[in-house]
């Protein structure tokens, strides 16, 4: 049976290529379209030069719509940042933060997005104040629940309670699947080994992570093993990552409208070794989720010191995995290069 869940891509995935000008916006969108990942998510200020401080040329917005139409894609989310530390030494005043969110609502609307993504550090009070305007514009503000946070963290619980109390349908969540880190990612380990972590310490950390040992114990043990610098840093990654429970999304399904399909590595046989996508898709299906899972490739930063990331191939592999898990009859494939 084919799932109701739809496939998409955050163009964040192609950052190494777009940074260097190796892929244009059209290349990105065409790639997604070829893979049948029709939902397109962008970090506004990554894809559109000038946003937010300078503003975006209308021509660039027109070009976006042209490409979306041309490749039969669907706008999903504009991920905005809200730089509340814009002013050195003083926080941005509350009303200015709200006004800033309203600006991003406008920009999201101009791009035809149903959602804009808020970072988890944005105060719920700001989002609640901006919610009526979002409703007016037909936009939902989705707070990204991202490790080290998770759906049982007091910050998220408080936020959910405040969203519900507000009664606004414009307030919801966008879980990032990185919070369900089941195993220590092999690409993380490899990078730490390149930085000088001895094999036996790396072995210990990987095993301790699988055993779910409390991070502080792992850090002390690595110190006792004689670990320094990068070994301590490798152990400290455990402070900010954990194998949280996918099932905890079930309590919040009516508030979840988009998903970040975070991944660090897709192997040639279409496996993400560290994130349990089979369990994740099962939970989302059980919860009746019918939105997009947008690929979010983040292995780039873990391998770029040693090799040039091939983000397109990585995204292709994840899309193949997702299509299979979703019960799609066809295997996503790129058209052969002309």
């Amino acid at each position: 049976m084919t799932s109701q869940i739809k496939r998409g891509v955050s163009l964040y995935s192609f950052q190494n290529e777009t940074f260097q000008g190796k892929m244009t916006l059209e290349d990105c969108i065409r790639t997604c379209a070829e893979l049948g990942a029709r939902g397109i998510e962008v970090i506004g200020e990554q894809t559109f030069w000038g946003w937010p401080e300078v503003g975006v040329n209308q021509a660039d917005i027109d070009n976006w719509h042209k490409l979306i139409k041309q490749y039969d894609c669907v706008p999903v989310s504009h991920d905005y940042m809200l730089d509340y530390k814009r002013y050195k030494g003083r926080p941005m005043p509350f009303e200015e933060q709200v006004a800033s969110v309203r600006k991003d609502i406008d920009f999201g609307a101009a791009l035809g997005m149903p959602f804009i993504r808020s970072l988890v550090s944005i105060a719920p009070e700001v989002l609640i104040a901006a919610a009526p305007y979002a409703e007016e514009k037909g936009i939902k503000l989705l707070t990204e629940v991202h490790a080290p946070l998770h759906f049982d963290h007091p910050w998220i619980i408080r936020m959910a309670e405040m969203f519900q109390k507000s009664g606004s349908p414009a307030l919801g969540f966008l879980p990032d699947m990185g919070m369900f880190l089941d195993k220590f990612p092999p690409v993380w380990r490899a990078k730490f080994e390149r930085m000088g972590v001895p094999v036996h310490i790396a072995d210990y950390i990987v095993k301790a992570y699988e055993d779910r040992v409390l991070s502080e114990y792992v850090i002390l043990e690595v110190q006792n093993m004689g670990g320094v610098g990068p070994a301590i840093a490798m152990a400290e990654t455990l402070r900010h990552n954990a194998a949280f429970e996918p099932k905890r999304m079930l309590d919040y399904m009516p508030m979840i409208h988009n998903i970040h399909g975070k991944f660090y590595e897709m192997t040639a046989d279409y496996v993400e070794p560290s994130i349990p996508y089979d369990k994740i898709v099962a939970v989302l299906s059980q919860g009746g989720y019918d939105g997009y899972i947008c690929s979010e490739y983040e292995g780039n930063r873990w391998i770029e010191d040693a090799e040039e990331p091939d983000s397109v191939e990585q995204v292709r592999r994840q899309q193949v995995m997702l299509a299979r898990l979703l019960g799609e009859p066809e295997t996503p494939a790129l058209k052969a290069a002309a």
Binding site: Q15, F19, Q46, G50, V54, M81, R86, K88
Partner: protein, 125 residues
């Protein structure tokens, strides 16, 4: 991220009053200039004083102190800024070790990140 790509290859040149090169922000997005806390240039082991660094994008040039209160301009994602170091006489022709370190104030991060790039570049005679 993008650490290795901060200094643009083959961009080192002498300019009037010093030397310059093209630099990119090591980040998956751009940043308003007021949030660039520091750009430290080191050439062949010698640190260029902060007040001798200039930052130019799209024809506009700023000192680092000026940038701290610039709220209407950005260093865009992947954008090649011209980074100028005032150094009378510039550099001698030949190989040089150039280091660039950028410190940003990022709203959502619970720390202030500094990212560094070191490159051996040649200055054409």
């Amino acid at each position: 991220m993008m650490d290795k790509l901060m200094i643009v290859e083959d961009s080192l040149e002498n300019v009037d009053g010093g030397f310059a090169f093209l630099g990119r922000l090591p980040y998956y997005r751009g940043l308003g200039l007021s949030m660039i806390e520091d750009i430290q240039i080191t050439i062949d082991g010698e640190v260029i004083p902060r007040e001798n660094v200039r930052f130019t994008v799209r024809g506009k040039t700023y000192t680092l102190d000026e940038m701290e209160t610039v709220y209407d301009d950005r260093w865009n994602f992947g954008e090649k800024a011209l980074i100028t170091a005032l150094k009378p006489g510039g550099l001698a022709a030949g190989p040089h070790k150039l280091e660039m370190a950028v410190r940003n104030r990022v709203s959502y991060l619970p720390f202030v990140p500094t990212t560094k790039c070191v490159k051996d570049l040649a200055l054409a005679a």
